[in-house]
Symmetry: C2
Subunit: 403 residues, 2 copies
């Protein structure tokens, strides 16, 4: 169901959604940098946001929109984060809502706004105004691809997906675009992710489903342990599919949530895989803990260890660094009961290194996608964390001084 063709359709795959991405001149590269997503039919809206105490201006503006329960549009830009910009930043985020509402004929409080890029720089509002004007004029049922490109920063490609499921006897569609790359360890929401669906669903149930799904998808993702000031994950559900509105938990809600889960998991995996400078995609599966929280702590400790990340960059099956990061995760452990596997091959068990087939282990380490299994042998809970390696390229991308 996650076909290549559907993926391209992205946020415009569900009925009643249009999108556009244009060049407003905010990115220095001259690439697409302003996106608008629009549903004429009012949509229930849900959102999760960064927990960083230094949240960006658009985060505050969009939180208010989510509180109203409904929205018509999303306006997002890359190239400038509008973070640490004080009163001017708040005014600029509001202006993004006002300009979009004016162009679309909706209310400013119906417009989610998002920004990503450099911190501490004011938005060039003249360029923004022209960009929104142009994007609205180009809104199109095939506009998701451009919108996806307009929200990326150091991502090497735009993440998009789409799918269709049956809910209450009706075909219901979902689509999404997302961006990640650097400053990525979401805690409650992630970078930027916009999900659309033509399902009819109550906004408080939509929020419930989103929170639960984000907890086990985007919140399990780390590129570099840095939680951004601008993280945001938004779902718009406009009801155009004509299903009986989901107003309580049950089979329809379960199908809806399950689909949302698949979308978010797929995007989280791709964001980890496309982390800044990444050459490896690492899935860390922690089992045998007393709680999900313990398993997550251990997984994140391993995912954020620079020594683990550089070892995988060097294709070094250095389980010592993995078990060291497990050991300082702050979860009580019994080293004797703990088992670590790389690509299914045991490398640590019974408190010591396991005799591994060196040839087979070398083949695992040479792969792009590597699964690290850590069984703590102390309980029934588990968690999966996604991350990438740490390469020269990461240092290059973030150590280059652009005046």
């Amino acid at each position: 169901m996650f076909s290549e063709q559907n993926a391209k359709a992205g946020v415009t795959f569900p009925q009643g959604f249009k999108a556009a991405g244009v060049r407003a001149g905010i990115k220095k590269s001259g690439n697409l940098d302003v996106a608008v997503i629009y549903t004429e039919k009012e949509a229930a809206v849900a959102g999760t946001f960064t927990q960083n105490a230094v949240a960006a201006a658009p985060v505050f503006a969009s939180k208010k929109v989510v509180q109203t329960g409904t929205a018509h549009a999303v306006t997002a830009n890359a190239g400038c984060a509008n973070a640490c910009t004080g009163e001017q930043g708040a005014a600029d985020a509001r202006s993004m809502q006002l300009i979009t509402a004016q162009e679309l004929g909706c209310q400013p409080d119906d417009v989610i706004v998002a920004s990503t890029g450099v911190i501490g720089v004011n938005l060039p509002m003249d360029k923004m105004e022209k960009g929104i004007h142009q994007a609205v004029s180009e809104l199109d049922e095939h506009g998701s691809e451009n919108a996806g490109k307009a929200i990326i920063t150091t991502d090497t490609y735009s993440k998009a997906c789409a799918t269709e499921v049956e809910i209450g006897g009706k075909n219901v569609r979902f689509g999404a675009i997302a961006k990640g790359s650097g400053m990525i360890q979401p805690n409650m929401a992630t970078m930027l992710c916009f999900i659309t669906t033509d399902a009819a669903i109550d906004s408080s149930l939509l929020q419930k489903a989103l929170l639960e799904v984000v907890e086990v998808t985007f919140n399990m993702l780390s590129v570099d342990g840095d939680m951004s000031t601008n993280d945001m994950c938004i779902v718009l559900a406009n009801g155009a599919a004509g299903n009986a509105k989901i107003e309580s938990e049950g089979a329809d809600y379960d199908t809806f949530k399950e689909t949302l889960l698949k979308i978010c998991r797929g995007l989280a995996e791709r964001i980890a895989s496309d982390g800044e400078g990444a050459t490896k995609f690492l899935t860390i599966h922690v089992t045998g803990t007393k709680s999900f929280a313990d398993a997550k702590k251990i997984g994140m400790s391993v995912a954020n260890s620079p020594l683990v990340k550089t070892a995988f960059f060097g294709q070094d099956p250095n389980w010592g660094r993995v078990i060291c990061a497990v050991g300082y995760a702050g979860v009580p452990m019994d080293p004797e009961k703990t088992v670590v596997k790389f690509g299914g091959i045991p490398v640590y068990a019974g408190g010591v290194g396991a005799e591994a087939d060196e040839e087979a282990l070398r083949a695992v380490m040479a792969k792009h996608d590597i699964v690290i299994e850590i069984d703590m042998g102390s309980g029934e809970s588990e968690a999966t964390v996604w991350t990438c390696d740490f390469s020269y390229e990461y240092v290059k991308i973030n150590g280059e001084y652009h005046t």
Copy 2:
């Protein structure tokens, strides 16, 4: 008082201590790799150790020695951590004690043992035995320099210091050797640090002083956020100075603790400055918090941010990344009240970037030693954290696969 000459004297500066460092063939490089420090006169001993749940065998062995309150010797090696080595590892650590005791004519439980290097590899005990034998035969009042070299791994130089103070009308000497470099975010103790003094002091007071000093020195240090399996900080006090034994708190204890603090702070700074691949030494001074713990959390969050560390590597005055890391530290903050300075120059205040003299800021960023001041404006507490930048060289050192 921290003269260059004294520094070289290191752990053999205090009366009654001898040391040696020899080549036992444990390091692949063939460099010095086994060190012995010895005091014929029994010494009070105190120690702090890693909190990593996967502690190495020598950590367990040395904890038992510290519990007895007295010791005569330290035997340490680099090139092999004797961590994750199970029962064999425990037996090997015990053998290090037995061999040393046999050579010196003391009890095995009088011998502190320590190892640093690769995790998951067994100690080559034949080489170890010959090494200890040779080191004991070379024990010398000028042996600290070689002992210091024998405990380093990827450090670019051996850290040593020595000093003399008056306690109870007697000249009392202190000396120390330490190693750091990678896998460095101690939590309770640090990497390897051996401190000697000829002061006479009760072992429980010695332990108290050490714990309090380590809390604000080695525990405030991070190279890469990775807490090692082998961290250990040991003090031996043999009483040879002839001062009236310090058996209660008071002026003598204060002088003793103050001196210990200066030694540990100096070594912590040098370990940060010589972090793996480091090109910058960063002192992060956090003020205006409600507690020391809050200030430490903020300092560590900034110190461990790969985006902050790569920015300083690139000499980029990117305060946005610093304030972002402050924001996700998990301490309530008021961005409007927060002030950030680089090298004394305000870069963030009142919730927005400050107008900084670009020329002056560029000069600050070009320096090797840079002070980052973060005033949270919300209390009277403060803390200082030391770290280094993140360079290509760090990735190279840790990403190279040595089979």
